[in-house]
Amino acid sequence: MTDSLTFIGRSLRHSVRSVDALLTALFLPVGIMLMFVYVFGGAIQTDGRYVDYVVPGIIVLCAGFGSAGTAVAVALDMTSGVIDRFRTLPISAGAVLTGHVTASVARNVVSTLLVVGVALISGFRPTTLPLNWLAAAGLLLLLMTAISWISAALGLLARNVEAANAVTFVAAFAPYVSSAFVPAESMPSGLRWIAEHQPVTPIVDTLRALMLDLPVGNAWIAAVAWCAAGIVLGRAAAAYLFARR
């Protein structure tokens, strides 16, 4: 536990000091949101206002994309000499990775707050019920943790930083084939089947229902289950790969 705290401190320092990466992590999500609301938004028809429909999707996209950056951070670390020093210490294999994952979640909390803030300025009108916000925040934290752990495992699997970078692209594109930006019903049948069965859809649907105070239905069960599975599997895979490399 003490070791994890030490590595969390290290990764947070890294986050703050890697100025380029930090600016990208904070402002790219805001840029994506503005693009959807103002550039594409006018052409897409949904029930109700598009800004209300799309902002929860954007939040999920940004949380996923930002968390996937963990793969790059881990791959960078594994190619540096300092990792051999950590691996010859009498500490648990996971401590270094816990540092990366926690710093990733912290970065994404900040960028999500930024996105929500700009969304409110841009006309996003969510519910003000505190319980809904609490549940939404909980779901987002689960999602960020899950994607961060999975990305950490993929970062360990990647042979170099470029390969690790590809992970962020997968995370960035998965939401497009989901209900994040347009309803799944509007897609051709093959894509629609994918959209309805991939994890992003129940997560976005749950978040949207919570933020707009609509009926949540059963979607939340699938959303939480996907995230929990991601955390458990990602973490186990990462610990295994770290010990093997």
Binding site: T6, R17, G81, D84, P90
Partner: protein, 296 residues
């Protein structure tokens, strides 16, 4: 109880795919001893160190460090060792002081940051990010990071490769102090001089095996003597001197084997008596090349 060696390795073998890197390495070092693995690139020095430091598992053979098996009792071995690998193992985004404090916390050791910074001449750079350090400063910090907890066994993989003479001397001093305090040190090097200065015993590594082992003097005596290289004013004098002294003819000089300073005086006196004065001389010690050509 037979608790003889701090480092003992038997028949270590390791292959990476088709490439066989170690073909049966046997090693031992007593407590407080400095053992140098001397050999060219690719001889298997780093692989040996990585196995002993628990970073690699051997395909065959066993090794114990500080009394614990490096495969089955990794954690106990890790508690007793520090590794300074070939690539400087420092965190570039942290400052020098932060690197040292981080290691102290991870090692559950007292904070000796100031002391170590002073010892390695890094006080002025304590609060600068390590990515701004020179190669020599990184190396010194790297070794300081290995010393936060006073390890029982210290592995130094080519600790002075690429260092300027001043940094090299600082590293050598640190190694000597540690050995005096009872730390067992295994260092790898490509430099005969370094092994000579630091090591109690030297193991020559070639082709994944230990080709020869002994003190520096033992090894050098097996290689041959020092030579003095003599230059003359003209080719005739060189010719005449060669007739008197024997030795090996170079292009414009004569190499003669000598045993110490007195022997050099004897050679020069003999030349002077015969009116064949040398214009310039140079002394040559046996080089790593000589050692390898002779013993492998």
């Amino acid at each position: 109880m037979c608790m003889a060696y701090t480092i003992e390795a038997e028949d270590l073998c390791k292959a990476f795919g088709e490439t066989r890197v170690l073909e049966g390495v046997d090693l031992h070092a007593e407590r407080g001893e400095v053992l140098a693995l001397l050999g060219p690139n690719g001889a298997g020095k780093t692989t040996t160190v990585r196995i002993l430091a628990t970073l690699l598992e051997p395909d065959r053979g066993t090794a114990r460090v500080a009394g614990h098996d490096v495969v089955r009792e990794r954690r106990a071995v890790r508690a007793a060792i520090s590794l300074t690998a070939q690539e400087a193992a420092v965190d570039g985004l942290l400052t020098g002081a932060e690197n040292l404090r981080m290691m102290a916390r991870l090692r559950r050791a007292g904070d000796r940051t100031r002391e170590l910074l002073a010892e390695f001449g890094l006080e002025h750079a304590a609060d600068r990010r390590v990515e701004t350090y020179s190669g020599g400063m990184r190396r010194r910090l790297d070794i300081a990071m290995s010393l936060v907890s006073r390890p029982q066994v210290l592995f130094l993989d080519e600790p002075t490769t690429g260092l300027d003479p001043r940094s090299r001397a600082a590293v050598w001093d640190a190694v000597k102090h540690l050995a005096d305090d009872g730390t067992t040190i295994l260092l790898t090097t490509q430099y005969l001089e370094e092994a000579d200065r630091l090591a109690d015993r030297i193991a020559l590594v070639a082709g994944g095996r230990i080709a020869a082992e002994g003190t520096a003097d033992e090894l050098k005596s097996r290689v041959g003597r020092e030579t003095v290289e003599l230059f003359f004013a003209d080719a005739e004098t060189l010719e005449a001197a060669a007739a008197v002294l024997g030795g090996r003819r170079g292009e414009s000089s004569l190499h003669v084997g000598v045993a110490g300073a007195e022997d050099v005086r004897r050679v020069l006196d003999e030349l002077a008596e015969r009116g064949l004065p040398a214009t310039r001389i140079a002394l040559h010690k046996p080089t790593l090349d000589d050692v390898f050509l002779a013993l492998t």
